[in-house]
Amino acid sequence: MSVRRVVRRWGGTAGLALLILLVLQVLGEWVLAGKGIIAAPTHVIEALWDDRALYGANVPTTLETAAKGWAVGNAAAIVVAGIAQSVAWTERPALLLGLTVFSIPGVALAPVLEVTLSGNAPGSVLAGFFVFFPTLILTLLGLRQADPGALLVARAYGAGRWRTLTKVRARAALPGIVTGLSMTVPAALVGAILGEFIGASSGLGVMLIDAMYGAQVDLVWGVAAVTTALALAGYYIVRYVGRLLNPWSPPLDASATASALDLTRRDGRSRLVRIIETLASIGLILLVWWAAIPVFHLSDYVVKNPGDVVNYLVGSSGSAVLSQIGITLADAGLGFCVGIAVGWVLGVLFVVSPATGRAVLPIAFVVSSIPAIVFVPIVTLLLGRGSLSAGAIAAIVTFFPVLVNTMFGLRSASGDTLLFFRAHNASLWQTLWRLRLPIGMPAMLAAARISAPLAVLGATLAEWLATGRGLGYLIVTAFVNSNYTQMWAAAVVLTILSIVFYSVLSVVEQVVLRRLGVAGAPSSGQRAWHTVLARIGGRRERAPEETPQLGNAWFEAH
């Protein structure tokens, strides 16, 4: 690329990045100096250097915890995807398992793991939970994208199910797997750090908590910077290795995948069968929970079974948990609405004005790679310890997947349709209103649906660390006070809340699409499915600069 082209492509982004750094510098150095809110970038760098021994001691711990969870979670996801692909009846339970894992808020899981496991294991398990679903979905998607012709040839030459899987499908799935492995790196870091928040003695999570409660602004921003750098580095290393292993096809673009992998897809099975399957899956989860306690010799003082939880909730002290539902719902709901609105509006803006999009997207990508967890102290420093902070965290976590999917949806109009609109001298507004919005609607709504559990996670994280109320806070206080029945009950209620939130949105989505008459259209909404799942902490799967290969899915403007 010539210098001029580099400048044209990256000039806006570089300028914007410099401007942001400059604003932070001015705010930290002068305007808000001494207020303990914003650390000037130069101070952060200084502090990073001064604290290098501290980072040297803590970073490896977190990396190890995250790497273990990342490896095991991804391996499990790939194996489960392989089974789901080859044994037809396991597919739905596998996806339901994935969705449940995805919907369990990390805040509910962390203390539960803390009392059942020891050492750094809770962080690793959390990391594994966070990476499982995105990779499961992307691997399945890759497995399904195998060239039908190649499959037919393999079958014609007598290959059985196993040989087809190893010789054709596994190769076809590689791009999806690489995407899953790379985009789950930040999620694994979030899991590790979240695990370190309770009970660990070292690691970035411990540093972050200490810095936050000690109001060490430079350290908070420093940990945020280091974590983001680790997340980005991991993302690009995995992508690079993936390219070496799989040079013949680029990693799957999760937001551009055409096939649908929705749990609610019409697959010819009756509603009754689907309800039975769902109930059976719930029953299975309860059964495993019940049986695990005696089988693994877990202490029934800290580990409660479903019966204990139900008894507690219907009993007199149950209201302690139930009364918090409204608060958490409000926190998550506020953040969800703001995040969705901002994501939609910016998505429209970036599509209408591609130059803006080109400049802003790389920065948005970096911001989205910041593991969500490090936003908590920074937002708390900025907005205080009220509901506003909880909403802001939930909004930040929700925003990026919505933005990416909105852009993808709005851009999914075919080239010929756009030509037609231009030939008829359609205005920007007409093209947006009559073409792009209806075509993008499924993706926009799917993004909203899949962001719901993320909003719950973000809100409860903030409740725990900052606001001091709501289910997120209750779970942690119950843990600290050794009130284990309450802790389990709150965790269960929070998980149900998250799943219900998701389900309600999925119904709303179907109704709206049917009303608009968009449902009959080849749905790009389901394409969005995969991308967003990954957003447990905050990342997306394709760096903006790589996008032009995608038939201009990103920047069709030229």
């Binding site: 010929d416 349709t417 037609f420 609109f421 030939a423 008829h424 001298n425 009959g520 080849p522």
Partner: protein, 274 residues
């Protein structure tokens, strides 16, 4: 109604192209897509552009509807440059991809150009066009419920709804099977006879080009030039029997001859570019 259309589009006019030049830059090198193209299309006549892939015929079509700028020469439609025509919503366009909006019914897809032109949508006019393309029973169906051929008929009705001064067809039946294609060509002939509009069709089927047109333009690629222009004097209205007539085959053979002799000449040029 037809009378009003007559007033709007004076019979003198049609398309005039003189010395048209168009080049693209690819990877720092420029290559000529169109070189010195001169052509006239009489008002309310049907012209086919035929040639191999990459000969610039689609580029020419896009220049006519102002979707592509050009580097030199003159292009006028009824005395107006293409961009004015586009701004007046006076172009009808049907492409290989019917590009229908899947959430709209046939009726509302057809009326889309009127909405884009901020004109009142008269249901009588829409019904008339639906009848013209023989989709009366599917007026409220959505594209997903239609066959490929039916979708193209919707696209053609949509292209005609605003009484365009210029109708541009870019391989409208190119993605359909041969039999459907034959049938739709007959349909197109009938529709065009009922509503004679200045029409330019891009195709790479010589039979299709000759069968439909008053004038066939044979193009050759890299750089895109015109090898031959021939008027087709087969009597109208044409029926399937034309396809069997010796005159029809004579014209096709003559033009194919020109295409292939021109094609060999163009070969070395292609190699230096590719």
């Amino acid at each position: 109604m037809n009378l009003a259309a007559d007033m709007d589009h004076p019979t003198a006019g049609g398309v005039v192209i003189q010395g048209l030049q168009k080049s693209y830059r690819v990877g720092g090198r420029s290559f000529e897509a169109l070189q010195e193209i001169s052509l006239t299309v009489a008002s309310r006549s049907f012209t086919s552009l035929v040639g191999p892939s990459g000969c610039g015929k689609s580029t020419l079509l896009r220049i006519l509807c102002d979707l592509e700028a050009f580097d030199g020469g003159r292009v006028e439609i009824d005395g107006c440059p293409p961009h004015l025509l586009r701004q007046r919503h006076a172009i009808g366009l049907a492409l290989q991809d019917p590009a229908l909006l899947p959430w709209r019914t046939v009726r509302r897809n057809i009326s889309l150009p009127l909405e884009l032109a901020r004109e009142r949508v008269s249901s009588a006019v829409v019904d008339e066009l639906i009848a013209l393309v023989e989709l009366e029973h599917f007026a409220d169906a959505r594209p997903a419920q239609l066959s490929g051929g039916m979708r193209q008929r919707v696209a053609i009705a949509r292209a005609l709804i605003s009484n365009p001064q210029l109708l541009l067809l870019d391989e409208p039946f190119g993605a359909l099977d041969e039999m459907t294609r034959q049938r739709l060509n007959l349909e197109l002939l009938r529709i065009w006879t009922e509503r004679p509009t200045t029409t330019v069709l891009v195709t790479h089927s010589m039979q299709e080009a000759v069968f439909l047109a008053d004038q066939v333009v044979v193009m050759s690629g890299r750089p895109g030039t015109i090898l031959a222009v021939r008027s087709v004097d087969l009597p109208r209205p044409r029926t399937v029997s034309v396809l069997r007539s010796p005159e029809f085959h004579a014209i096709c053979d003559e033009l194919l001859e020109k295409l292939f002799s021109g094609g060999t000449r163009a070969q070395p040029v292609e190699e230096t570019v590719g």
